[in-house]
Amino acid sequence: MRYHNDAAITIDGVSKQYEGEGGTTTALREMSLSVSSGEFVTVLGPSGCGKTTLLRLVSGLESPTDGDITVAGKLVQGPDPNRGTVFQAYHLFPWLTVRENVAFGLVEQGVPDAERQDRVQEMLEVIGLSNFADAYPKELSGGMKQRVGLARALAVDPDILLMDEPFGSVDMQTRRQLQDELIDIWRDTDKTVLFVTHDIEEAVALSDRIVVMSGTPGCVQATVSVAESRPRNRSAQWFVDQVETLFERIKSNT
């Protein structure tokens, strides 16, 4: 078990409202959550429960209407490469090769050429795409694209990884594989992960802690700790039971 003590992410009484034509929509209401350094926390909930909004607030792409989000003791006021973000739709830069996509953040940080190339090469090896370094995103499968998306976020060595349903667009087989790879990377690198999904099994397989959200407006409905060691056997009784319990929980609230 990892050593969890100082809070890497603190979400304190955060609300988010959108002004629309039909009036005000509340996406999140007084949400509070604390994620420890090195912890893998998954926010689980049905679509429309505000979990993506929560992640966007933590990444700094949007600001809360109320409440504060602090990361490593500092108030979040905008995006920062120290909070690497991985998106469901990959959002790779189509005009850049795999290598250039992975290098994007390093270039912006002014990392010297030689060091940058080493780092990119290292990342390409981690995600197993060294042979595709000079391919353009259009030539890649969904799973490969998301590996690049992950490597691009990891290249600048962020303390925190924010993942918005990252494996939601790939097939079952690839999803499992990516989940395993993510766990390996997470174990090797000591990152704090805030992961968003609607896939209960995925949440149980990956997380230290699962935050169940219900909508609308979104708020925390329950928090479940999963202490089992990884890799987790998905056919073990505890796993099946946990998935079932969470399923019932979400169902009773929608």
């Binding site: 792409l61 920062d80 998106f87 090769t97 994007f104 912006e108 600048v156």
Partner: protein, 274 residues
């Protein structure tokens, strides 16, 4: 802007069976080539039959046109007049594309510039480039500079419009990704995301400019600037219709060549897209 000269019209996907692609981006196979040959022969036959019936000053035959073209070529006059046309075409297109592209990028990106210039742009943009000929004449005279000015206006608005659209519709998602990766200035965002994302649109503007501006060139020359268009009108005034048509064909050839060249550059720059 959809005229019969529109060089982008053929990318609309009317042809549905991909075979091999070669010259001018069309699909070629033997059947198509054969039909093309028959069609061309039929066209020339009708032209020839018509030209035989009427005096040459009304409609010269294909043979007479070919003869005139050959004569212009060997005398070197053709190259001289083509050179004159290029002397205002190239600078006009180059400056117009760069200036229009920059303004389009600026207005597409900056809300302040957009708000400030939109009224002026709305009023000036619909004015056909040729309407500016009066200013070209009184400011610059109808030499190379005046004609280049007309060409410039044509290229300017076409590129402006495409660049503006491209930048304005640049992917918000990719801009967000860039900010999460540490891009925090407008300059870097433009350079790293917005302009690359708008490049396909900008290059469409360049390509359309390169095509449409041949029309501007000819139009300016019909008013008296030296060049191929001037030869078309003066030959016709002298009832030398074969020579006139020969120079019309020259325009067609340089149009196709310049369009082909731009397409090559475009597919090179956008190799990530195909």
């Amino acid at each position: 802007m959809a005229t019969e000269f529109d060089p982008v019209a053929d990318s609309s996907g009317i042809r549905s069976q991909p075979t091999t692609t070669t010259a001018f981006g069309r699909e070629w196979n033997l059947t198509r080539l054969w039909y093309g040959f028959v069609g061309t022969a039929g066209f020339l036959a009708v032209w020839w039959a018509g030209g035989r019936e009427v005096p040459s000053y009304l409609l010269p035959t294909p043979g007479e046109v070919a003869g005139a073209l050959w004569a212009e070529l060997v005398s070197g006059e053709l190259l001289v007049h083509l050179g004159e046309s290029l002397l205002h075409y190239i600078p006009g297109v180059a400056v117009g594309v760069v200036a229009g592209g920059l303004l389009g990028i600026g207005m597409g990106w900056s809300l302040v510039i957009d708000a400030a210039l939109t009224p002026v742009v709305r009023v000036l943009r619909p004015i056909p480039p040729l309407a500016w000929i009066v200013f070209a004449i009184i400011w610059l005279g109808l030499g190379h500079t005046g004609a280049a000015f007309i060409v410039f206006i044509g290229a300017f608005w076409i590129t402006f419009y495409n660049a503006y659209e491209g930048v304005e519709s640049a992917s918000r998602d990719l801009i967000e990704v860039a900010t999460t990766l540490g891009v925090d200035t407008n300059r870097r965002l433009l350079w790293r995301v917005v302009i690359p994302d708008a490049l396909p649109g900008i290059l469409t503007g360049v390509r359309t400019s390169v095509g449409q501006c041949w029309m501007m060139v000819i139009a300016a020359e019909l008013f008296g600037a030296p060049g191929v268009g001037y030869e078309i009108i003066t030959s016709a005034n002298n009832l030398a219709m074969a020579r006139s048509i020969a120079y019309m064909l020259v325009i067609s050839v340089v149009f196709l060549l310049s369009d082909w060249a731009v397409r090559r550059v475009r597919s090179y720059l956008l190799d990530w897209q195909q």
